[in-house]
């Protein structure tokens, strides 16, 4: 078992090293960084699916929440916008709070038959009340220098602070949706999470006062040095000379990627440590018991719904952290780049391929699938040009097929998911169970 893990991880390392020698170390570390982020997301999904059997197809939404948190924490605040609209924003928040309090209060004291109509009336009234302050505020914010800012900005804190905060924000979102959809049949959770993720993306896309929407936030402050500063600093030049780097700018971007890699690996290691501890603890055994036989676990007095909510929230938090890391690495938030095939279903392929329920498997799955996803494009180009070679380069069909080669990756991911589910449903590194030992003991 452990031999197999070591072998598979070793192979993955070799492949990345080969990329380093064949393409370039910059490419290799670029892929490695995104592999680590993918691995973190896969760990989050594994907590939900592998530990508890929850089918969450809203990973994209929680990742995007993490990305938004990174922006809101790290970008400098736009003072003018706060000055113009701060009062109205505060008033809208107050009205929101008042509405919530009124609804809770009314639901407690009103006759049960009137609960629903009273709640609806209060919600509607609250909605319009918030609109009175909120509409002018957003208009004012969005009209301030729309080409450069046009939003509230962030808190101006270091971006690393955003990573744990992103986990908290995503956990809050997960708690809300989990409260509603958990405890019902499994497909409902899937459909509800699909919905919430689309709504989160819509909010980020269209609430320009918050996130600049489709105008994107760029230039998010980095936790690592900038290339331009590096190539001018003396210590770096002597370091590059010491390693015999041919091109100083290449060396600088490699150095930056290495710094990111170190940060990401630290995060991955921390999360992995907690995840493994949790899985091996009595809590982990209880989760597996609930997953494998819900009714039996409930009969033993386990609060199934509460435990499900707990793991769901934890998994969402991990996805949120990964989202913040991704936005930090990109240095920008581009809401239009969030599509479910890439941010939700691809992560699922990672978890299934790696081995549901096994954290080492999820990390490996994250590495393999991200690697294939990136390398599918050159491979697809090669494949398409080979099969269209007999047609000649000028033929329209050949050109069309070569243009579509990038989408070979969808085919590849579909094929991997189907093949794994069919022939190795436990994945590359199957979940470690004590069942075999238990059986020998009983016989």
């Amino acid at each position: 078992m452990t031999k197999r893990v070591a072998l598979l991880y070793g192979l993955m390392c070799l492949v990345l090293i080969a990329i380093g020698f064949l393409q370039s170390w910059n490419v290799a570390f670029g892929i490695f960084n995104l592999c680590v982020i993918s691995a973190v997301m896969a760990l989050g999904v594994n907590m939900q699916w592998g530990y508890a059997g929850l089918f969450n197809v809203g990973v994209m939404g929680f990742t995007a929440l993490g990305g938004l948190t990174a922006v809101l924490v790290s970008m400098p605040p736009v003072g003018e916008a706060w000055a113009v609209a701060g009062g109205d924003i505060a008033l809208s928040l107050l009205s929101l709070a008042a509405t919530i309090v009124a609804v809770i209060y009314a639901r407690r004291f009103v006759h049960p038959a009137l609960k629903l109509p009273v709640t609806l009336v209060l919600l509607l009234a609250g909605y319009f009340l918030i609109g009175v302050f909120f509409g002018p505020a957003t208009d004012a914010i969005e009209s301030i220098d729309p080409a450069l800012s046009g939003y509230l900005g962030g808190a101006g804190l270091p971006v690393l602070v955003a990573w744990p905060l992103a986990g908290l924000v995503a956990a809050g979102g997960g708690w809300l949706i989990g409260r509603i959809a958990l405890g019902l049949r499994a497909d409902y959770l899937a459909i509800a999470t699909l919905g919430i993720s689309e709504i989160i993306i819509a909010i980020i896309k269209y609430e320009e006062w918050l996130s600049r929407g489709v105008k994107n936030v760029t230039g998010i402050p980095r936790p690592v040095p900038y290339e331009v500063d590096l190539i001018e600093s003396e210590w770096f030049i002597s370091l590059a000379n010491f390693f015999g780097a041919a091109e100083i700018s290449d060396a600088a971007s490699l150095f930056v990627k290495l710094c990111y890699a170190v940060l990401f690996v630290i995060v991955l290691a921390i999360i992995m440590w907690f995840a493994e501890r949790a899985l091996k603890s009595p809590w982990g055994r209880m989760m597996r018991a609930i997953r494998d036989n819900r009714d039996a676990a409930a009969a033993m007095g386990k609060d199934v719904k509460r435990r499900h909510l707990q793991t769901f929230v934890l998994g969402c938090a991990v996805c949120g952290i990964a989202g913040a890391m991704l936005t930090t690495l990109d240095g920008q938030l581009t809401p239009t780049s969030y599509i479910p095939l890439r941010y939700t279903f691809l992560i699922w392929v990672m978890v299934i391929l790696g081995g549901s329920g096994n954290n080492w498997g999820s990390i490996l799955g994250g590495f393999i699938i991200w690697f294939l996803w990136v390398e599918a494009e050159p491979f697809g180009n090669w494949f398409m040009s080979t099969i269209t070679a007999p047609l000649g380069g000028g033929s329209e069909l050949a050109q069309h097929l070569v243009a579509g080669a990038a989408y070979m990756r969808y085919l590849m991911m579909g094929a991997i998911l189907l093949i794994v589910m069919r022939f190795a449903p436990k994945g590359l590194i199957p979940e470690a169970t004590n069942r075999s030992t238990a059986m020998t003991r009983s016989s």
Binding site: V57, Y188, A202, L411, G414, A415
Partner: protein
């Protein structure tokens, strides 16, 4: 007069588009509900199946347009639709044979089916993007309007006209025909009765000598045909974009659950409720209220409950409300 103007305005901007949209959703939701009822899983690949059928229809339409074939004033796509339907059916049957049958034999958990359907979704999405590319495609031809805004204004003698696009009328007519046929099939024919029996109680149906593979095959044929028709009508009415078919899954699922899982009548009802709520909530009532209110008075804002950007939120809120208030749906469906 003012009231009539307001009504005409409302009909033009809410009732007509919502009816067409509801009909398109109904066809999609019928397919999803049949698969839910017979195969007992949420088919995430249904949107891509719609997209695939539409894509083949578009390709055949282009071919026919190049050949100079046309059935003006109707859109050429109607002539191409049968081939799109056949393509979607073949795709569904191939996927069932290659993928889903194995898990049916194993009696796998519905979640396993749902995950596998994600794999199928990836495959079909890849094929679509390689063949036709990710960009928008327009393929509608023929007359655009049956009744233009100006003509109807004159005919009704009002300030507001009711324009009806040809695609909207075709959508409603085609949906009515297909749905009537489907209900006749489910209620009157032997195969339809077998399907309902199988959906009600699998074991009892097997004991009565119903061949499950045949029921499943018919289910896929119907669901795929409906999917191709729904996708093509949606494309004719709006435009064809490959990525939209993942987003349209949400209203379709919402309609299915709202109507009651496995209930064809419920699916149709649910689809129209979702469509009407979506269009009404995102419609700006400013002009409507201007007609109704006193003269020389107009509301300040747009009087729009939700901006159109958040139309998924409507399906989502409906979904959540159903989950909280009546998880079985309007017409008591299964809770598997």
């Amino acid at each position: 007069m003012e009231i009539l103007n307001a009504l005409a305005l409302f009909t033009n901007f809410v009732v007509v588009p919502a009816t067409a949209y509801g009909a398109q959703l109904a066809l999609g939701a019928l397919g999803v509900t049949l698969i839910f009822g017979i195969l007992r899983f949420a088919n995430f690949a249904h949107g891509e199946l719609m997209s695939f059928g539409t894509m083949i229809t578009i390709l055949v339409t282009w071919f026919l347009q190049n050949m100079g074939v046309s059935i003006a004033p109707f859109p050429t796509a109607l002539l191409a639709l049968p081939i799109g339907v056949l393509a979607a059916i073949s795709m569904a049957l191939v996927m069932d044979r290659m993928v889903f049958r194995f898990y049916r034999k194993q009696r796998s958990n519905p979640i396993v089916f749902a995950i596998v359907s994600v794999g199928v979704m990836f495959l079909i999405a890849g094929i679509i993007r390689i063949v036709i590319g990710p960009a928008d495609q327009s393929f509608a031809d023929g007359e655009r309007f049956i009744i233009g805004a100006i003509d109807s204004r004159r005919a009704l003698g009002l300030d507001e006209g009711i324009a009806i696009k040809q695609s909207q009328l075709i959508t409603v007519v085609v949906t009515a025909i297909v749905v009537a046929w489907l209900f006749w099939f489910l209620q009157k024919t032997r195969s339809g009765k077998a399907m309902r029996a199988y959906s009600d109680d699998e074991d009892l149906a097997l004991l009565s000598g119903i061949n499950p593979e045949r029921v499943v095959m018919i289910c896929w044929v119907i669901a795929a045909a409906l999917a191709a028709i729904a996708g093509t009508l949606y494309g004719l009415d709006k435009t064809y974009k490959p990525f939209i078919f993942l987003q349209i899954l949400l209203p379709i699922f919402a309609a299915t659950i709202l109507g009651g899982i496995g209930q064809p009548v419920g699916a149709i009802l649910g689809a129209f409720i979702v469509a009407f709520s979506e269009v009404t909530v995102t419609y700006a009532f400013k002009k409507f209220l201007t007609y109704l209110g006193p003269t020389d008075w107009a509301p300040d804002g747009l009087v729009q409950l939700l901006s159109t950007d958040y139309k998924f939120a409507v399906s989502f809120i409906i979904l959540v409300a159903v989950l909280l208030i009546r998880p079985t749906g309007i017409i008591r469906g299964k809770v598997i």
